[in-house]
């Protein structure tokens, strides 16, 4: 066990964070995680502004049965159960099914959207838990590694996996740069966007697709239980620093990248740590700092502004 209070832990962590003492593999994994965190933060801005955070959470939880079915399919075909294409392919299909399920429930039944989301989230996660318990009884290897998809892990991650995740994240960043103006428009005022001749449904599908991509790519590092945090917390924190949508995207990407990078570094020093949990805690710490000190609407700058106004008001 690593002693969290020992000086050695912190010096090791500092060395890894600064890439001084990190092995090549660790370095690649950390940079891959940072790329994912950045993409998640940027995509999360649009999920937040278009109020799709809960859908993202449901879709993430719904990947569990997909991962389990992917594992079972791979085993049935005589392949190693934990092959990435099967697991992520299963996750993608399950996430799509969940998104369609939410839409169908909302549009056909008159149940409110949050009810539809909560039912799909819980029931698909339950299905995943049952499938996992079946997998545990199989006499094939590799079941243990599936835990990584629940809470995230970077230990044992291969270099080419990390590079794949990094490249995917950069593709996502490129799409946001290309569609930035349209995505902001639909998030701000979808009726105006439609009246103005923009394909709102297509843009909504693109936002959902980006969210889905981040969820699936992030499963391996952050885990499906917590990935929504990486979509929600950095944008929420970024909102405290600026009133400009474009700047929010940059700050959210930066905060997401820093969180994921730090999480991966802690895992490198202390491999038993669930990476996803550390990433989320770092992100939350950054949120608290932003709430307190954010230059646009942080509590402290606002208090100072009010005090200054009052001082001017009482001046003779």
């Amino acid at each position: 066990m690593t002693n969290w209070l020992s000086a050695a832990f912190w010096t090791d962590l500092a060395a890894v964070l600064l890439l001084r003492d990190a092995g090549y593999n660790t370095m690649v994994v950390m940079l891959g995680a940072a790329a994912l965190g950045g993409a998640a933060g940027a995509v999360g801005v649009f999920a937040m502004l278009r109020r799709r955070a809960l859908v993202a959470d449901a879709v993430a939880h719904a990947t569990l049965p997909g991962v389990a079915l992917g594992f079972l399919c791979a085993v049935a075909l005589g392949l190693p159960g934990r092959s990435l294409p099967f697991l992520l392919g299963g996750a993608t299909l399950a996430a799509l099914a969940a998104a369609l399920g939410i839409l169908a429930i909302r549009n056909r039944t008159r149940l409110p959207e949050d009810t539809a989301i909560a039912s799909v989230l819980a029931s698909s996660f339950a299905l995943g838990v049952v499938l996992l318990s079946i997998i545990q009884t199989l006499r094939t290897g590799g079941q243990a590694g599936l835990d990584a998809y629940l809470l995230g892990a970077t230990a044992g991650m291969l270099r080419h996996e990390a590079i794949t995740l990094g490249v995917f994240s950069l593709v996502i960043a490129g799409m946001i740069a290309l569609l930035f103006k349209e995505l902001v428009l639909v998030a701000f005022d979808s009726e105006f966007a439609r009246a103005h001749g923009f394909a709102v449904r297509t843009l909504d599908l693109i936002i959902l697709g980006l969210v889905l991509a981040v969820v699936v790519i992030g499963l391996r590092i952050v885990g499906l239980v917590l990935i929504v945090a990486l979509l929600v917390i950095p944008p929420a924190a970024a909102r405290f620093w600026t009133h400009h949508a474009s700047v929010i995207v940059f700050i959210a990407a930066l905060l997401g990248a820093v969180s994921a990078y730090t999480g991966a570094a802690v895992s490198a020093v202390h491999p038993q740590t669930p990476t996803g949990a550390v990433i989320v805690l770092v992100a939350f710490a950054l949120l608290l700092i932003s709430v307190a000190f954010g230059s646009a609407r942080g509590l402290l700058p606002r208090a100072i502004g009010r005090a200054r106004l009052r001082a001017q008001g009482s001046a003779p």
Binding site: K181, L185, F192, G197, H244
Partner: protein
């Protein structure tokens, strides 16, 4: 370069015939199965300022949204400049203030620039010239000084003027505005009236959902009285009569109102 010969389709239309910019025929719109609008037929005047007046729930906003293609129609047709209503840049739109998320990370200038997006085009970045044009539209509503304010930090009247500036940026010939005068200050009211009159000078059609009966006659050339059915429509002087107003506001709210004698 010679322009291609005009297509025979365009030629086939009767030359000089006044096609109304907006023509509504037998329009019925349902909300949750109940009629919000019933068999409304209306030809907009070619240009000028039109007030849509009627009690709450009369379907005024619904009519605007149906013309814009935002609400499905159960029955009837709408044509814009003689062509079936689709969606497009031909109509500028100012939604009700209550429908906007004022916490959104956008400045006044950002919002006005959105009115230019159609002309900037898909996937193309916003250029400096676009921001300069947006600034000119803000200036037209007396808001140039506040261009860089977050929209939530503006007063209600200033917010309304930002959205009028966005409509100006759309550079359309038809303007639809949903209750722009609701709860705004006197300055905003005066500036908006001037802007609308300027648009009329340019030959534009400005259709405004309006709640203040007292100012209808002083601002608007035409009026449309609506209460799920069309009560009356025409020039303000002849249409905005106490009798018509009483019919529009006094009608019972049952699903099947008493049949009315046609009003012209």
């Amino acid at each position: 370069m010679l322009a291609p010969a005009p297509s025979s389709k365009i030629r086939a239309e009767p030359a000089g015939a006044m096609t109304p910019p907006i023509a509504v025929r037998d329009l019925t719109v349902l909300y949750d199965g109940r009629p919000a609008l019933e068999e409304v037929s209306w030809d907009a005047p070619p240009e000028g300022l039109v007030a849509i007046v009627g009690p709450n729930g009369a379907g005024k906003s619904t009519l605007l949204k149906t013309i814009l293609g935002l609400v499905p129609q159960a029955h009837g047709t709408i044509t814009i400049d003689g062509k079936p209503a689709g969606r497009g840049e031909r109509i500028a739109y100012v939604p009700q203030r209550s429908s906007v998320d004022w916490d959104f990370p956008a400045t006044a200038l950002d919002v006005v620039t959105m009115g230019l997006y159609r002309r900037i085009g898909w996937l193309r970045p916003i250029r400096r010239a676009d921001h300069e044009e947006a600034r000119r539209h803000l200036d037209a509503v007396g808001m140039a000084d506040l261009a860089d304010r977050q929209i939530g930090a503006l007063s209600g009247g200033q917010q309304q003027r930002v959205f009028v500036a966005r409509a100006l940026a759309q550079n359309a010939r038809i303007y639809l505005l949903d209750e722009p005068f609701a709860g705004v200050d006197a300055t905003t009211s005066r500036i908006m009236t001037d802007v609308f009159r300027g648009l009329r000078e340019n030959g534009s059609l400005v259709v405004v959902v309006h709640h203040d009966l007292g100012s209808v006659a002083s601002i608007f050339d035409y009026v449309m009285l609506l209460n799920r059915r069309l009560i009356a429509a025409g020039p303000t002087a002849t249409t905005f009569t106490p009798a018509n107003v009483a019919t529009a506001y006094g009608m019972p709210q049952e699903p099947h109102p008493l049949p009315l004698a046609p009003v012209c």
